[in-house]
Amino acid sequence: MTCDLETQGGRRSIDFRQRGSVWEMTLDGRILSVDVTPIAGRRSLLIGPAGGPVRSYEVAVERRTNGERIVYVNGLAVPVWMVDPRERLRRRGNVSAETGPRSIVSPMPGRIVKVLVREGDVVAAHQGLVVVEAMKMENELRAPRAGQVSTVKVVEGMSVEARAVLVTLA
């Protein structure tokens, strides 16, 4: 079987075959043997080339939406994206993220401190749109790309829920 995925360092393809607790994996032309033992929501992995040194890792994998997985290992939270043919269009770097209408949403409940744009304004990528106070901090929400502001759905002083649409870009 084959598993295609992406890490921050780039695209990877893993061929694998499972025999009991041992997984034979081929990665970048190298053959690895991975011994897997589950322990309460985590897995112990012993990774090594057949006959070579065996490295020990403890990992936990958390599923997110859009094929994202967060892999907890050595105190870090490493993101990995599973590449599914149905999702390929939404991949990082795909042009679809750069065109089409885009909604800017509040990532958490908060209060609108300042609205920096008006409907019809042309904005540059990373230009500030709205300042929201949440968790005792003022945060500037910026444009994901250049475009024209089609709607502004909030006014200063308004409280907003998580995921509330604040501004849309045409």
Binding site: V36, G41, V71, V73, L76, A97, A134, R142
Partner: protein, 520 residues
């Protein structure tokens, strides 16, 4: 004193309760609605609800906290840090209600709360201050007069709020022409944040270090100073890593610095715990900055190298006990200690707050490691308060060992469900300038600016391969176990935190300021 009410939440409430329990004192927790199940409530002997979630309706309600103390029969109140800890009205209200406020007097809080009054006290005690205006500049002082004063002080000059803190109402001005607009901006910001728009001027030191001295002062005239803390690793004027002793302070400088700090406190009859903050310039000269009249977030590093429980001594001093500690013990560093402030925030998205449910938490331990926290598996970090989850402290025989132990502990620390600043600390503790002890208060902001957008969790490419293998195995096992291989919500079901990397630009929030009132 038999029973203490802790007018706070989170890690400091837990910290104070631990000291109370060590001393055989009963504890009373107060809580807002969302904190009903919080650690400090479950840990306390008694607990009383004081209102809705916004701080001004609960943890900042002096009347409700005094009522709770009366209803529970508490003798004393410990304010922790943040919230009401430096509020003179609260200290006075405690006194009027016959309760012991575990901290300095209301008068000392008032005096030190005014930055210009504190500067005058330092000058009177013979302690150098950063050149600046000794009197506050009220709103009716004309611009021309201010420009003249600024020219005498020398540019670049800082415009600061008299009631200020946390960078609010603060402006750096390079030339006389820019001063009037900076004054207007600082006044309006200070007025909005503190209800007081008076400002003052101070010369801006280039690349200073922030070094501070912890004091304990009893009611019998004894003031003791501890080995200095180095707090120059700051992000947007907020401390991120603290350590003690400072890598650059010599024994001679320590002697002068600590006696200057004690002199300021003694000259105003200060009591209980407090911290005198100094700026160090590149020539090693120090200047008084301000006094913090509370226990500070970073107090554990001092405890680790002096062997003293500062919170327990706050309580003993408030009971009227004499300080029986030896001055030598407090001024001789026993090893080295470092603290990392672990926040619920996403370092890969501009340190955006990351509240929500912690699905799994594993806290490191072992030689030299201390974790002062409050969160557990199942804790829902609320959006209403400071997102500090814990303070991870490492002690070593010397600085390299303390750093090595901190790095080891960071490898063991696992917080799942929300993002934290932990990956940032792994990166920070590998920076050559940090390891060399060569930094100043703007060092981290400059470093982050130069760094680019790579995720902090990508610091080790070999781990990316392990992560890929782990994700592949998890998906294959899920698929064979019959679980849908299609994307599903995470265990906590919060789609708001499930954005992919490619969506990050929409989430690139930029922090402007944090409200100092809620920070230690």
């Amino acid at each position: 004193m038999r029973k203490i009410l802790i007018a706070n939440r989170g890690e400091i409430a837990v910290r104070v309760m631990r000291a109370c329990r060590d001393m055989g004192l009963a504890t009373v927790a107060v809580y807002s609605e969302c904190d009903r199940a919080a650690r400090h409530v479950r840990m306390a002997d008694e607990a009383i609800g004081i209102g809705p979630n916004p701080p001004r309706e609960s943890y900042l309600r002096i009347d409700r906290i005094i009522d709770a103390a009366r209803a529970s029969g508490a003798d004393a109140i410990h304010p922790g840090y943040g919230f009401l800890s430096e509020n003179e009205d609260f200290a006075a209200a405690c006194r009027e209600a016959g309760l012991t406020f575990i901290g300095p007097t209301a008068e000392a809080i008032t005096l030190m709360g005014s930055k210009t009054a504190a500067r005058r006290a330092a000058i009177a005690a013979g302690v150098p201050v950063v050149p600046g205006t000794e009197e506050p500049l009220a709103a009716d002082v004309p611009d021309a007069v201010i420009v003249e004063r600024a020219t005498q002080i020398g540019f670049p000059v800082m415009v600061k709020a008299v009631a200020g803190g946390g960078g609010k109402g603060m402006r750096v001005v390079g030339s006389p022409a820019d001063l009037p607009s900076a004054i207007r901006a600082a006044r309006s910001e200070a007025g909005a944040a503190f209800g007081d728009s008076t400002i003052y001027l101070e010369r801006r030191l280039e690349r200073p270090r922030h070094i501070e001295v912890q004091l304990l002062a009893d009611h019998h005239g004894t003031v003791l100073a501890c080995v200095e803390r180095e707090c120059s690793i700051q992000r947007r004027h907020q401390k991120v890593i603290e350590e003690t002793p400072s890598p650059v302070v010599s024994p001679e400088q320590r002697a002068r610095l600590t006696s200057a700090a004690a002199a300021v406190a003694a000259s105003v009859g200060y009591t209980n715990a407090g911290t005198v903050e100094f700026l160090f310039d590149e020539q090693g000269r120090f200047y008084f900055l301000e006094v913090n009249t509370r226990i500070q977030v970073e107090h554990p590093v001092t405890e680790m190298i002096t062997g003293v429980d500062l919170v327990a001594w706050q309580i003993r001093i408030a009971c009227g006990e004499r300080l029986t500690l030896s001055a030598d013990q407090l001024l001789t560093p026993r090893g080295h200690a470092i603290e990392c402030r672990v926040y619920a925030e996403d370092p890969d998205a501009g340190f955006l707050p990351s509240p929500g449910l912690i699905t799994s938490l594993r806290i490191p331990s072992g030689p030299g490691i201390r974790d002062d926290g409050w969160a557990e598996t199942g804790t829902d970090v609320p959006v209403f308060y400071d997102p500090l989850i814990s303070k991870l402290i490492a002690w070593g025989e010397d600085r390299p060992q303390a750093i090595a132990r901190m790095r080891r502990a960071l490898l063991e620390y696992e917080v799942r469900g929300i993002r934290t600043s932990l990956p940032f600390f792994q990166w920070m503790l590998r920076q050559p300038a940090f390891l060399a002890g060569e930094f100043h208060t703007e060092f981290l902001d400059e470093l982050l600016q130069r760094r680019g957008v790579e995720g902090f969790s990508a610091i080790d490419p070999s781990l990316e391969e392990v992560a890929a293998i782990a994700a592949c195995i998890a998906d294959a096992e899920d698929a064979s176990a019959g679980r849908s291989a299609s994307p599903t919500a995470t265990t906590d079901g919060r789609s708001s935190k499930s954005e992919g990397w490619w969506d990050r630009p929409a989430l690139s929030w930029k922090h402007r300021a944090r409200v100092e009132a809620l920070r230690g």
